[in-house]
């Protein structure tokens, strides 16, 4: 990389990390919403 390897590879690595974080955060949010709704359903079932 002609002496620029550290700069170039750091940028590509950061990009991978950002994509992984975005995907992980989106899945986490989805799981939390599902769990929240399941708890709500269970609570409704207990009261009925």
């Amino acid at each position: 990389m002609g002496g620029y390897g550290a700069y170039v590879w750091t940028c590509f690595a950061m990009t991978v990390v950002v994509f992984v974080i975005c995907e992980w955060r989106a899945r986490l949010r989805q799981r939390r919403v599902y769990r929240d709704i399941e708890v709500r359903i269970k609570a409704l079932g207990d009261t009925q």
Partner: protein, 228 residues
């Protein structure tokens, strides 16, 4: 539907990254450092495109009171913030060997992009600060619409003012200022990033809609049918 975005996205990004890193010839002025363009330009493009999606959706939600539009705007904001951060970080890393500095406060492109990151933060903070979803939708939509003024400023900043940042490479009179061996991997990366963004947005919109509709019968039935 998400795999329809992920598969072509990964394929395009894999091709673009390989061709950009190992096949494209090095730049006669910047040497191999120019290869940062293959992640910097797609992330900068996505940061602006995401803001436009967010502002347009927020505007549609505000004018026509479509709840789905507000959900799209809310889902787009965190993704946009991450790609704005990535554009700023990769730009800063590129700037160090080329300009001799990580950051230049007087530069209009850098500063306007940083303002966009703060607009994303402001949008998300405003949403988080208001418990009532309808009120949060309205207030944050106004902020998103006002902030949209910044997008053309970012795009044209290198033409309107004197800037350390190089001028337009792709969208300019007379066509792209790149050889096709450099250009095709870049276009593949931009398209690949867009596909992957689509997958991320769909996943977040799905969660956002479910959260907003969590008290409705159809969501209860859907969750129960998945659980059984």
């Amino acid at each position: 539907m998400i795999p329809w975005f992920v598969v072509p996205g990964l394929f395009l990004v894999a091709y673009g990254a390989y061709a950009g890193l190992f096949v494209a010839p090095m730049d006669y002025q910047q040497g191999d450092a120019f290869r940062i363009i293959y992640v910097h330009v797609p992330s900068a493009y996505l940061s602006m495109m995401t803001y436009m999606i967010m502002a347009t959706s927020a505007g549609i939600g505000l004018i026509w009171r479509i709840k789905l539009a507000h959900a799209v705007a809310a889902a787009a904001a965190p993704i946009g913030a991450w790609f704005t951060f990535l554009a700023l970080a990769t730009g800063s890393i590129w700037g160090k060997p080329m300009w001799g500095t990580w950051w230049e406060w007087g530069d209009p492109r850098l500063t306007s992009e940083l303002i966009m990151l703060f607009l994303y933060f402001g949008y998300m903070a405003l949403r988080g600060a208001i418990d009532d979803t309808a009120k949060a939708d309205k207030s944050s939509a106004v902020l998103a619409l006002v902030g949209a003024v910044n997008v053309p400023i970012i795009h044209f900043s290198v033409e309107w003012w004197s800037s350390l940042h190089q001028g337009p490479t792709l969208v300019r009179k007379g066509g792209p200022a790149m050889d096709t061996a450099m250009l095709y991997p870049l276009l593949a990366m931009i398209l690949g990033f867009t596909f992957l963004f689509g997958a991320l947005l769909l996943r977040r919109v799905r969660a956002e809609v479910l959260y907003r509709e969590r008290r409705t019968r159809w969501v209860r039935e859907m969750i129960l049918s998945k659980g059984t």
